[in-house]
Symmetry: C2
DNA sequence: CGACAATTGTCACCCAATGACAGATGACAT
DNA sequence: ATGTCATCTGTCATTGGGTGACAATTGTCG
């Protein structure tokens, strides 16, 4: 049943339309969330704003939450790919640190620092969104920890150290972003400085290299 | 209309009945969750198992989630109170470390290590529960960080260090519990050892004492 | 007992989410 | 261009979580 792969060349009007609808839903959703609050916004309203049936909304997103967390999911992907791009020989802490900071720099500058922080703040002050965001982050942390284990010859299923490394770095990331939401300055330099400092504080105990002995348990 | 405060002496049949219903709901709920899964269990089923109307369920708990997270909330309270009991002069890291480990020891021994881990595992493998659990934990972390700031003369609203300290310790706690869920041994010593080691790894970079200069930002 | 407050059940309702089915629409070969 | 086919979309019905309102019960206390 050879699927629909390899279209003749043009991506097709269909695919473009889908993309437009998808981003229109995100745009409309975030706008409503930011103006009226997450809980006060219904799926019907979002769908209506894009002139689409509510049922269609759920064909694009698994739930209302996904609208608010879509950007965050992209950010996590950026961290992962940036980390994967690092030379395999580089020690994990500096590699992950760079990946995190380059993600912050990138997305905050393309999107605009104020918008970046507005969304961040919406998530932090909305319990259900904060919950979802933390859970997604924990998944990303797992993926990265496993990759670190793979690269440095430790079994992430049996050794805590990769998980600890990733955990403390992300703790720094979260705290840095949270702090930035309360900071008077809203420029990129400040953002990077704050997140960088938080990451450094949190990861100060991570050794440059792990000994050859697994932290057996 | 002076409220219902100060009953004549006996706690009243009413209060006892409420407590019984409350714990019956938790018991029945957890039992169903563990046997059929969280999502597969409906509020109606839990209510029916206790012979109570579904509406009444929501008078005891804000949502289905609260049943699964009720124990976790108690554990967080235990950590907080244990930390508050520590001498105010003690440096924050060892104090928090002791508080965390004593909570783990206490509740796992009164409840039984297997039960303790079963619930832990249910939460970790159920996305919505993991999300809620992480969020609740983040609130607890905030509270403790503020208390640390209060005790050691740093403004937790302006200084990252108390938050970092609490964050890395809780990262260790979470990772230790997660690791324990996968460990073949199910005894208390192993549990304490694992969590203790994870906390130590994660908090290795926290200094014994903070300098007098605030980590100004 | 009698009055009062707290607890409970019933009912009606909103919203998020999902399955089923029919109609619209872009894709592609001829 | 046209008809076929896959995909996308809207409508409808339904389930489950969660809430407000009101009346009926039931513990509490004088």
């Amino acid at each position: 049943m050879a699927a629909m792969s390899a279209p003749t060349g043009h991506d097709g009007l269909r695919a473009r339309k889908k993309q437009r609808t998808r981003s229109a839903l995100v745009e409309a959703g975030l706008d409503l969330f930011l103006r009226h609050g997450y809980d006060a916004t219904t799926v019907d309203e979002i769908a209506a704003a894009v002139e689409v049936s509510p049922r269609t909304f759920f064909r694009y997103f698994a739930g209302k939450e996904d609208i608010a967390l879509a950007k965050g999911a992209e950010l996590d992907e950026q961290i992962v790919t940036a980390f994967l791009d690092a030379p395999t020989g580089e020690p994990p802490l500096p590699a992950l640190r760079r990946a995190v900071l380059s993600m912050v720099r990138d997305s905050a500058s393309t999107e605009g620092v104020p918008n970046f922080l507005r969304l961040q703040h919406l998530i932090n002050r909305t319990p259900s969104l904060l919950a979802g965001s933390l859970r997604r982050s924990s998944e990303t942390q797992h993926r990265i920890a496993e990759e670190i284990g793979r690269r440095h010859g430790v079994d992430a299923a049996r050794d805590l150290r990769p998980h600890v490394l990733v955990g403390v770095v992300f703790t720094g990331l979260h705290l840095g972003l949270e702090a930035m939401c309360a900071d008077p300055r809203r420029d990129l330099d400040r953002l990077v400085e704050l997140v960088g400092r938080a990451v450094d504080l949190a990861s100060a105990g991570v050794p440059d290299r792990w000994g050859d002995e697994p932290d057996s348990w």
